[in-house]
Symmetry: C2
């Protein structure tokens, strides 16, 4: 909700989407033309006259900015001017305020115009504030050099619009989380606010990794999908903007999603169909197809010149994923903690042992959408078991995987026209890692054949997965031979290697020696490179020869040939007193500088040779850039296979992580069945167990056995005796079991759960005018409407927050509905022991009546001497009528006289009224 | 809790604090020596031979790093090596993992050593991750150039340790929030775990703004102080490290504080006493003094060379601040939202109209610690009233203040040895703003004298505040005359002006023309600057003359004198074909480059002159740096007065903000009394009202009248009818009234509240093994122990989450204790209408017995036709036995058959048992 409100200011319609797209197509054409015009060797730096040009072009800058402000009126516009990003006119004060930078002004044609700006290097910091914190759209207007008639000029154009959902490789992106952009397509032919449960199309992509999914889903489960996908930005068509009561909009607001409304391009002149890098089954038409189109149009309108070819989307169907409703994802703290936001103490945080960022992203996805396919679960389990049973093998694979790069992101960077040679090397290295994995698996297989093959089935799953790795060794070899040995093995921090452009920088060139080892591409790569390198070698040899000759000829051993920003090419002697005599006497050596004991001379022959060296170096830098572009294209050509291999690696990382977890925390492999059983012996709550362990305490495990004949358990017992924890652990064990992990228990058999529901915890939302009780009832109603016999439901203290009788009546009605209508597996914890009376306990009538499938369990307090007591966390059959609230109050430190008043009152109340209610006949009919 | 756990790895003792401090003193001495040795004019760039030196010094780098790793073993060490920060040995893999950068390795003396690194420009990004996210300490080892025998070498030393609480001006600091470092001093002579409620010393500072406070507080209110101060880091002495059960440690863990344990320096050779910039009353000795010493020692050990002179601390006493307990600060969402974390929908977020970052920080501080001094409150109210009554005056002052800079931060930056000329200009500008305020207030005064003087008292408060502004016009004048007119009025983004050092950068110098306008300091500032400027002028004139002469002499109009990195000083002709003839024929012009239509020549006379220009420019840059240092010292000399003025400006901003708020949202000025009354007519909840407004709905106001004879109100009524909101709004109105703001009501009289308590909302903390009910009881017990007759208590549904009888008994005991023992003003909302029976309603016995001061109010549901209904949010005297829980369930969408079962059950329960309990005599004795 809060998010939504922040979003309002930027919910401007992209009204001219189609206009923009066509404009962009034109711009792209223009760019191509300019490219071919550009001269390759601008060896001169900007000079005074061209600086003047720049200054006069300022007035055209003003009109460019005004144009862009109009065209991209829904965005904040940042315009690059030299080494700054600047903002002008009305937006300047807003941007200055958002970024806490100074607002200033400048004169344009006699008019004082507000402006603000910041240096290039702060762009990431400020984009984070504008896009991630304030959810604003930022249009980046960049400068593109254009060389005409020797003078340098610039084309300036908006090359990209950055929105919360279209981040590419900004450094503030968290590599361990997905940054999804979700498009939702709503059928146009249904009555918008009708109660009908129609199908929606969903398509979502993480533009930083290239992952792309689509599916259809029913309106009623939209909110659950939102909780699972956790999109950073959601796209809807413009027509929904004016209908805040539309159920889709309401669900998005409810989940606090950031919504962007766009005009869907209906004109025919724009290619509506998304182009994929791989053919995919278009037969799967329907709403998801138009969602994909909407997503594609939005990406094109914002990524502009950075638009990649999209991979074909993976189609999901509802059938093979456990649905976890949105409250439950939050209440069970599967991904984020309720109170902290972070992943500390969450299921993800406690179970994560992945070592790659891709693995971490996959684990988060799996935990929010466990599988319902027994074969899929079992094949994952088999791989986990293989790892689990072979610690050495596990350690080896872990070490190999540890060096893998985030290939998904790198391939996407290349597709987006970014990346550098370091990324090329990463691709080659990771291909080698895939090969190493295949090799190590092969070795293990041979060891198995000769002996320990206890998990044969597991091994087959393993091989099936690993055999899907596409052989890309040719690409690895190609990259490695194309990159110079120097570059591939260079010492020093990885960032040292960033980008070829470094060579072009204007830093002071001292002596050309250091260029020897600086080249990135192997000279053999092309004829052109080879001849340039030969030329450079020749010139450098000439330089050395010249230097030696001059030293000898003029008896000046300290003479060197140098280059410096202030003196240009010059002859330098460091011991002038001793060595200058003969040089001084020669007119071709012209003294140009003296400082301390050194002296510098101009010498034409060296100036000429130095100039040739300098030119050749620039030409080499350019030739390397061309070579890099060729290599990049070769990588993107293999994008599909690279991604597929990366996905397999992610899966290996996650299953490996499960095995490590199982070994560390003593998890067991659960048996998965397709009936409605649920049998866990000595189950534990992984996060709470960890919390207790760190406090030096031991967790008390508990068992649960649900079957079609006894699928609803009423749990009573004192406060603080672990009821809520027991409920949660049961749900978490189901989640873990169905993602393929082992589970924290001594033994487990789990009948596949189709949907997981919970009504636990308590919160209100006064800002949205909802009391705690209202929130509880909304969640309860949702469960009663949607739970099936294959579902698992946990409910804690339904009926609090209203009068006793209201609460009791509602709790009873809920249990009645669950056991009679929904017939789901359910754990129902309550302090209303009267509920047990209403359900017929202990009169044993439940073996035939409406409540025949209900069972009763409880925890208890054990009194020791002197009024002290401990909790019996272990569940027992039966009903506990004592919640021992006063004991908790005593523990909490309630003043003794208040405790005494409470205890007298309690005694009086108990005397006044018997403990159990008699069974009302009207209910058990 | 979660935070604490993350903290564990870095809770290494600063065991050698004293050692480090003395080492640092030595280092500082050493630095001074080096400074005087340094040569001022290193005009030559690094050459090949010195690069070789650098390379051989690498092995000494290894030993330096090993030394530092040992000395700063509790830190992550980042060592600057050229343009990179690097990390070596074991820490490298940890840092690479934390920062997601690549781990690589290098050979040192034949040993392969792990390493990682990143370019300088990424330092802020990475520090944020290490320090703010991972709460690690980072030791920054910097390079300091040392020029010996012409060759450049480096001293490398750790110049600062960055911890979460010692951030100076890192760009990731949020200027709108304080970043406090808190030291807690525990008396060493008390039994650590005894139940005694001894005094603690607290001292806290925001090193980025220089604010510094200290106070003593009782152990029992430590947690409330923590919630109010919200420190980013807390310092304790080492001896508490081994006692996790110590109540101070427990309170810190409870609040999720990040703790650093340090060894307190007990040796005498280190100055223990903190040196302040202003004498302060040391008579106020005790625990707070040792807390100040602890804080000072910690700062010295970490800021090292950046250690500023601290201001004298402001001493707070408990008497003049409303205590708000820690749960209440969170539950009332005063500063942060419970579920979102941000300030959206919070009291701070809803009431904030401040325009400066200093004002925003002060407002947050005030809201968490309202005043209990009537005179203070009234004088703030008077200023608010003055602003409120004069919209034009308000608008003018608002405009003036809007341009003020964050002087507190700038002064602190200067004290820390940072800052640049832009900051100087900010100081001058802000001094002018203070003067403008005084002038505008003066004008208003004269207007008042001649007519509209309805808020005379307000005006006096206004003048009292404004008259405290210290006249610093001399400083403003000094800065403005010292800075060049060019710099002071320069167009373009503020960041363009950053730092004098820019002049020294190695960027390609094209023609020296652009240096004309680049100087920052006025040439008149010193004799040295004046003569250097004269020299430069002369040289530049000579250059122009030479250029003209050559153009004429050689008939080459396109000839210019230039400088470029590759060619050094050279003569350039852009139209070679036309102009080169005569030059070509002259042997003193030696052709060195040709490209396209241009041609470049070496010409000795220009090389010589250009060299002089280049040297003079470097000398000027250095002289400007010296001048800046002088000016900076002049500012820091006035630090006390500058800070005082800045504080006054903060207060004006906040009171102005209150006036704006009152005008926008129709707030009224409350009357503050020192009795125990609390009378609010038509009060509103500011955040909820805003939420409803944005949904197009109207908020129903409610009145409350508490007096010593009727100070406990029982509130009953249906769900969703606004009970919780009413409770919260009452507490928020008390907070707003006592910070000096107007309040959302038609009329209000507030007897000063000494402590504000609440027991509202519901949460559990399973990770720490606390059920919802346990959390409720802990908070209730705390209130019953600490509330006084001057306190205000709001309690919502105490007794939920256990059996009905337990809950009822506890609710009754709580009310009993509050009215008989605490005698506080209290609003108690409940769904246990049976509680009213226990309290004697409606038998009117309350006019004499123990519950004579209890009153009963309720909300209700109004049935309309066809089973529809609306809520009557307006409170009425009486008790409502109906919570209408089933109506809420119906609204929430519970399936009709479940509703029907619930309603049958409810009817049966009602038939079975009468509505009211008879009054138990044992209780009313």
């Amino acid at each position: 909700m809060a998010k939504h409100d922040q979003a309002l200011p930027s919910q401007q319609p992209l009204s001219n989407l189609s206009e923009e797209i066509s404009a962009n197509v034109e711009k792209t054409k223009k760019r191509r033309v300019i490219k071919t015009k550009a001269k390759p060797l601008p060896i001169d730096t900007v000079d005074a006259s061209s600086a003047d040009d720049l200054r006069t072009s300022r007035s055209s800058l003003a009109s460019e900015i005004l144009d862009n402000l109009k065209r991209f009126s829904h965005c904040l516009l940042l315009t690059r001017v030299g080494q700054f990003y600047e903002s002008y006119f009305d937006q300047a004060s807003e941007i200055a305020r958002l970024l806490s930078i100074k607002l200033t002004s400048r004169k344009w044609n006699g008019v004082q115009v507000p402006m603000c700006g910041f240096p290039l290097i702060h762009i990431d910091k400020h984009l984070k504030v504008l896009v991630q914190e304030h959810k604003r759209f930022v249009a980046m207007c960049e400068e593109f050099p254009r060389v005409t008639c020797g003078a340098k000029e610039f084309d300036r154009r908006v090359s990209r619009i950055i929105t919360p959902g279209t981040l590419i490789d900004e450094p503030f992106l968290n590599p361990f989380e997905n940054n999804y952009l979700l498009a939702i397509s709503v059928p146009s032919d249904v009555d918008l606010v009708s109660g009908l449960n129609y199908s929606l199309g969903l398509a979502w992509t993480d533009i930083s990794t290239g992952e792309f999914y689509s599916r259809q889903c029913l309106l009623e489960s939209l909110q659950d999908e939102l909780a699972r996908i956790a999109p950073r930005e959601v796209i809807l068509t413009n027509d929904l903007k004016s209908t805040p009561e539309h159920p889709v909009v309401k669900a998005l607001v409810e989940e606090g999603s950031f919504i962007s409304f766009v005009a869907f391009p209906h004109t025919n002149d724009i290619p509506r169909r998304v182009e994929y890098d791989h053919p995919h089954d278009v037969g799967f038409a329907g709403q998801n197809l138009s969602a994909e189109e909407l997503l594609g149009a939005y990406l094109r309108a914002n990524l502009l010149e950075h638009m990649p070819t999209l991979p074909s989307p993976s189609h999901e169907t509802a059938l093979n994923r456990m649905q976890i409703d949105s409250h439950t994802i939050k209440a069970l703290e599967i991904r984020e903690g309720v109170y902290q936001g972070g992943s500390k103490g969450t299921l993800l945080g406690v179970t994560k042992r992945t070592i790659t960022s891709g693995g971490a992203r996959l684990l988060a996805r799996w935990l929010c959408a466990p599988s319902t396919s027994i074969s899929e679960i079992e094949s994952r389990q088999a791989i986990v078991a293989s790892f689990h049973g072979h610690p050495h093998f596990r350690a080896d694979i872990k070490e190999i995987i540890g060096d893998a790069e985030d290939i998904g992101r790198i391939v996407q960077k290349f597709l987006l026209g970014r990346g550098d040679c370091t990324d090329l090397l990463s691709v080659a290295r990771t291909i080698d890692i895939w090969r190493a994995i295949i090799k190590r698996v092969d070795e293990e297989k041979h060891m198995k054949d000769t002996g320990m093959n206890e998990v044969k089935g597991g091994w087959r799953s393993f091989e099936t997965l690993v055999n899907q790795i596409v052989d890309l060794n040719h690409l690895s070899t190609r990259i490695r031979t194309a990159l110079s040995a120097d570059f591939s093995t260079r010492e020093g921090p990885a960032e040292n290697m960033e980008g070829i452009t470094e060579v072009e920088s204007t830093e002071g060139v001292h002596s050309f020696g250091k260029y020897q080892g600086k080249w990135i591409i192997n000279p053999d790569f092309s004829q052109k490179l080879a001849s340039l390198h030969q030329g450079l070698q020749r010139f450098l040899q000439q330089k050395d020869r010249l230097e030696r000759e001059l030293q000898l000829q003029y008896e000046a051993p300290s003479l060197t040939l140098r280059n410096s920003p202030a003196l240009g090419m010059h002859v330098h002697i460091s011991k002038a007193k001793r060595d200058k005599k003969q040089l001084q006497a020669t007119p071709t050596f012209i003294s140009i500088s003296e400082s301390g004991t050194t002296k510098s001379y101009f010498y034409k022959e060296w100036s000429h040779l130095g100039g040739l060296i300098s030119e050749t170096i620039s030409a080499l830098a350019l030739a390397e850039k061309e070579a890099f572009d060729i290599l990049r294209r070769e990588v993107t050509y293999n994008a599909f296979a690279l991604r597929r291999n990366a996905e397999i690696l992610d899966e290996l990382d996650v299953t490996l992580s499960f095995a490590t977890l199982a070994a560390e925390m003593n998890f067991v492999r659960p048996r998965i069945t397709d009936d409605c059983s649920f049998h866990v012996v000595n189950g534990r709550h992984p996060a709470v167990e960890l919390g207790l362990l760190s406090a030096g305490r031991v967790y008390t495990p508990n068992s649960v056995e649900m079957a079609p004949t006894c699928n609803l358990h009423i749990i009573t017992g004192p406060n603080m005796a672990g009821k809520s924890t027991f409920l949660r652990q049961t749900a978490l064990i189901a989640v873990l079991a169905q993602v393929g992990s082992f589970v924290p228990a001594d033994f487990a058999t789990i009948g596949v759960v189709d949907k997981l529901f919970s009504r636990i915890g308590a919160k209100d939302d006064l800002f949205r005018d909802r009391s705690t009780f209202m929130v509880e009832m909304l969640e309860t109603a949702d469960i009663l409407r949607r739970a099936t016999p294959k579902s698992l439901v946990i409910m804690d203290e339904v009926g609090r927050g209203t009068t006793v009788k209201d609460g009791l009546a509602l709790a009873f009605a809920t249990v009645h509905h669950l056991t009679v209508k929904n017939q789901s597996r359910c754990l129902f914890a309550t302090h209303f022991h009267e509920l047990s009376d209403l359900l017929g306990w202990p009169n044993e009538i439940f073996n035939q009546g409406a409540f025949s499938k209900v069972r009763f369990y409880c925890t208890d307090v054990v009194e020791i001497e002197d009024g002290h007591f401990t909790y019996a966390y272990r569940l027992q059959p039966g009903v506990n009528r004592e919640s021992h609230g006063l004991k908790v109050a005593q523990l909490a430190g309630l003043p003794p006289d208040a405790l005494s008043v409470a205890s007298q009152t309690l005694n009086w109340l108990k005397r006044r009224e018997p403990e159990s209610l008699c069974v009302p006949e009207i209910i058990h009919r």
